[in-house]
Structures are given as C-alpha cells and as structure tokens.
Symmetry: none
Subunit: 202 residues, 4 copies
C-alpha cells in the first residue's frame, strides 16, 4: 500500500499540444533504450531514431542525453513507499530500504546509478538529479522518520539527515562505490544499528 501519491515537481506546462506529444514519444523511446542497453544506449541519435522525434526537437527540450534519461527516470520512477502500516518503524524502514535496493537493482535502477555516475562530472545534471530524484525521496523518508520519532522509536533530538544518511549511505555505498552485494541481512543490520545508535534511550 502506498501513501498518497505526491506529484513530482515535474509540472508539464506546455503551450503546444504537439510538444507534449513529442516529449512523450521521446521519453517512451528513452525508456526502451534504457531497458535494452542501459544509459550507454541513450544517445540523442538513438532516441531521435527510435521515437521519430527530430534531434532538433530533443535539443529544444533537453540539453543533453543525461537530461533526457533523467526526465525519463523521474517521470516513471515509482514513488517510495512508506513500508506499509504494519510493524514497528524499524521494520518499516527495513522494508523501505529493501524496496529501494530492489529498485536500484532493476533495469530502471541501472539508469539511476548511471545518472549518479554521470553527475560526478556534470554539475547541471547533479543539480537536476537533486531536484527531481533526491529531494523528493528524502522528503518522503523524512516524514517516516518523524513518525518514528513521534512514536518514540527514535530519539527526539535526532538530526533527520544524519539518521537517514546513516541508513541510506551504506546501501548506496555498496551499490555505487564498493560494488558489493546488498543483502536483506545487511539492510536489517544497518537499520538495527541506526535504531540502536539513535534510540530514544541512548
């Protein structure tokens, strides 16, 4: 079960009907290319050829291939769940992180890590990633944390970003930096550790 679906900050404000059509065709083709060959396969030429949208039009709307891929991922990425209503907040976080790693391991997730990779050398992409991917997801997880704090499972004065980085950090670190497999057991123990360190009684 999902919480209420928040609209992503993508507000397609278009004044031309056909522009939305071209945009949709382009993003659909991008999604196909992502699924087939990953981020590498998302070249402007390929998107243009696949979608029937002229390259000129692609460049009218996005400055480069990373922006296209980002728009595609951002538009299609399922919103983060709240881990369901059942169980403790510790368990809900564990479910949330497991959902996250499943997403990152999917074909769509390959696009996300590729975008994280690409933004290391592209400040504009980094900014766009923050706005469209990182911040919305962080906002959602922060809400769950605040509930956990109100429920007394996490200490009252806990810095939300510190806590969330403490649990999401190891996950992304393994996925993006060290390349080690992220197991459910790893997630359980990382979340356990955070709930110990930031427990109300600590």
């Amino acid at each position: 079960m999902r919480t209420e679906e928040r609209a992503l900050p993508t507000a397609p404000r278009r004044s031309r009907q056909s522009s939305a059509e071209a945009r949709d065709k382009a993003l659909a083709a991008t999604a196909e290319l992502l699924a087939e060959g990953g981020f590498q396969a998302v070249t402007m030429e390929a998107v243009a050829a696949r979608s029937g949208v002229a390259k000129t039009t692609l460049y009218r709307w996005w400055p480069n291939r990373a922006a296209v891929a980002l728009a595609c991922v951002s538009a299609r990425m399922a919103p983060i769940g709240d881990g369901g209503p059942a169980g403790s907040y510790r368990e809900r976080f564990q479910r949330q992180l497991k959902a996250t790693i499943r997403l990152l391991n999917s074909a769509e997730g390959q696009a996300i890590t590729a975008l994280i990779g690409a933004k290391q050398t592209d400040p504009l992409l980094a900014e766009a990633y923050s706005e469209q991917i990182a911040r919305p997801r962080r906002a959602q997880t922060r809400m769950l944390l605040q509930q956990a704090i109100r429920a007394g499972e996490v200490a009252a004065g806990t810095d939300p970003d510190l806590f969330l980085d403490a649990i999401y950090g190891p996950l992304y670190y393994r996925k993006v930096v060290s390349g080690e497999l992220v197991t459910d057991a790893f997630i359980d123990r990382i979340v356990d550790a955070a709930f110990i360190a930031f427990s109300a009684r600590a």
Copy 2:
C-alpha cells in the same frame, strides 16, 4: 581491463628502457590533465599530445582513458593513514575519515569520484577500481578496526565490512550521491553512532 600494465605476451621480457619511460610520461601528462580539467580532460588524444607518447603506445598499456586515469590516481594516491597513535580508536577513525574526505575534496579526489562515476557503466573499470583503490584501502581500515576490537572499543563479533560500511557509507553517500557537504561534525557523529551501535556492551 587490467590494473597496471598488461602482461607482456612473451616470456623473455626485453626490458626496453623506453617502455617505462613512455609509461611515466603518459601518467605525468595524465596527472596534469586531471589537475587542469578533471577527468573530462583526460582523453587519449590529449594524453598522447601532452606526453609525446603515441596513442598506439597508450593503448598498448591501457585499454581506455578510464584505465589511464585510474593508473595515475592509483600510483599517486597517498596511502591511508592509521589516524596516528594518539587517542581512542573512535578518534582515530574520525581522523581517518576526515583525511578521506579531504582527499575526496582535492583535485585528485575529483578524479576518484569521476572514476566512481565512470565505473557505473564500465564493469572492467569497476573491477580495476576495486582491485587498485577499494580493496587496499579497505584492508588498511580493516586492520584499524581489528585493533579497536582487540582493544575492546568495538564488540568482538562485529562484522568488519558492516562496521566500515556504516561509517564510510554515509561519507561517500554525501560526496557521491546526495552532494551535500561533509562536515567534520557529520563525521564525528556518524562515527559516534557506529561506536554506540557496535560497542562491546551492546
């Protein structure tokens, strides 16, 4: 992709003087290019032009530009310190992480994060990165952790990789994924949390 240089095919290795010379010139040029324009500037053409080493020769030793950059960084990166002898192991870890983030924030660090970015879509580079950068550093930090365990500051049964990912994960997460600034206070608190969660008495 191979880590350092490729093995020469023939056993009777004629140690030609200039091969090492060409390799050194190439890496020196790479270091300059990294400093000047980051990883983006390290193209095979630029390295060849800058170093006076023929492109052919570069490809004889490295399969692509990422491998060259990796060899350069790997050769020049200072080994991780052990945090110095003074103070508790908690403090030594904090010093070690602060040294790490200073490295990542340097010009050389831009190359490292760029390589982490590039390896998201290049499995051979990912493997080479693991071999040359990640594993050696992890081995060093694991030794420090084992000392901390022997000293009783960390619980005896602690999984070293779990503990180390718990402290390095948030650091790299901020640097590579979220892009937020990594402050000394953040490091202190992350390490504090890990020492609480994995303390001997837990």
Copy 3:
C-alpha cells in the same frame, strides 16, 4: 540544465498587420541583412527575426531566401542611367558600364553577384532574375544602342544582343568569373573595341 521541458518564453505578443506591411518590413530587414552580412546573412530565420514577420508569412510571399533577396534588390536597385546626354554614344556607353561596375562593387552589388551565383543551381531563381533584373536592364541598354545606331555610331544591321553582350560580357566575366579588377581603362578599351568592330564603316 533543465529537467523537464525548458521554459517557454512568456508574453506572446500577437498583432495582425496588413500583408503589404509585412512584405515591406520583410524587405527592409532583408536590406539590412544584405548590408551587414551579404547574401549569406539573408536566411529566412534571420529575416523573420529581424522584421517581426513570421516565417510562415515569408513563405507565403516568396519561395525561398534567394527570392526574398531578389525582391529586395529588385525593388531598391536604381534604374540604369542612359549615361547622360553629353558626348558621343561611345562615351555614354562607357559611363553606363562604369556605373554598372560601381553598382556591382557596392554592398548591393554583392547581393547581385551572390544572386547570380545562387541561380546557377536554382532554375526558378534564374527565371526570376531574368525577369526582374536582367530583362529590364537589357531593355534600357538596348534603347541606348538603338539611338547609337540611329546616330550612325554603330552599324545599322548590328544585332543588339550581340553588341551588348560584347561589352557587358567582359565586365561581368571579370566580376563574376575571373575575379580580376574591372578598371575604368578596361571598360574604355572594351567599349572602344566594340565600337570599332561594330562601327558603321566596318
């Protein structure tokens, strides 16, 4: 970088104007562009942007950029003079050719030679050029020649086109084909030669 679509410019100001008004504005803009950057600068996009006339409207009136430039030149080109009343017809022709070469050397003349260039690969433009530029001018010079014939300076049976091509040909040849400078002395001698060859006594 923009994530979704780039911002559309605001405040679309639309006001209707008469067709003649649009045509005049377009030709005025064309004249400016011709003066600034020659025929190369006369693109439909540039004329539209400069004049405030929509590209659609330009295409309603002219089939392509060459036609626009031609219309501009044709509308603004001073009619050929008759060399003034004074002197012999030989001298009047010499004055007329000198005026022609001065025109061709002017900024407007650059447009004319560019149009002559463009019509080599554009039959419609070639036809339009003939109608609007070549024929009217030839008609004027033919009248002068007929006067010269009546005055006895040129032989009675002279084919007008042959005579006129004999004097205008070398001028345009130098200007358009060989690129050599056309001096007043060259014109004098070419006209002299024609008057010798086609003199009444020949």
Copy 4:
C-alpha cells in the same frame, strides 16, 4: 582552402598510399554525384556514404564540399585544346570557344558553373578556383593568342587579357549571367568582332 590535398607537414615520407586511396575514392564518388544530381548533390555526407570514406577523412583533406567538387573537376577536366593546327588563328579561337561551351554545357560543366556560383560567396573557394581552373586555362589560351600575334592576325601591342576577356567574357556572360543560349554563330561573330577590333591594321 587548399586545392588538392592539404600540404603534408614536414617529412611526407609517410605512407601516402592509403591517403591517396581515400582521396581517389572520394573524388570518384564526387564525380558520380556531380553527374547524377549536380553540385547540389555533392554533400559531405553523400560523398562519405557513397565512397566509403569517413567524413572525418574528407574534412582532413578538404575544408568543405565546394573544395571537394573543385578538386574533382580540376582533376578530371580535360585540358583546353589549341583548336587544332588547321586554319587561321581566328578559326582556331572559334573552335576553342566552341569546345569550351560544349564543356560548360556538359554535366561536368554544370559543376563548373555551380562552382562559379558558389565562389561568389566564398573567398577561399574563389581563390582555389582561380588557381586550379582559371589560371591554367588562361595560360593556355594566352599562348594561342601570342601565336596569333606573331602570325600577324592580331595587333602586336594587344593586351592579352583584354583580348581574351573580350571573347571569353560574352561566352561566360551568356552561360552564367544572362542564361541565353550560346550558339556557334554567336561565338563566330564574337570572335570575328574581336579580330576586327584588335586586327593588326586597326
């Protein structure tokens, strides 16, 4: 712009073999394209596609499509004849001009007039045209004229360029500027006129 291939730097003792091969293939494809669709059809993309030579390589040797077409025409254009040995010099010039107009009316000639057109707005092409097409042909016709002068058919003091422009000018004028048909009779009469105007007795 360079005429044929760009000057190799120093020490061109490198294998010119492969470069000549690519050059030949490119020019052969260009000739086909010229024959099929005229100068318009000679695009770098088309030459590359047709010849199997990479676009990069085309740009290595020629700066733009006009230069390619020029190199093609220049390499394949038959040298001007001397009009054959028989008859008077007047007749030899008439034969020479008739051969010239036949050339200009051929498929190859379309390329020449198109190049003359293109050079109106491309100074580098204009220079290359002069060097490779105009000057060599003028040198040949000037030799014939000098023989005519020595033979007493043309006055001794005649300026060669003036005489030659007087006969070639009307030909090119009709072909390039006015678009009128150039008949054999027209050529005969133009040459007659020049021989009258510049006759030894004049």
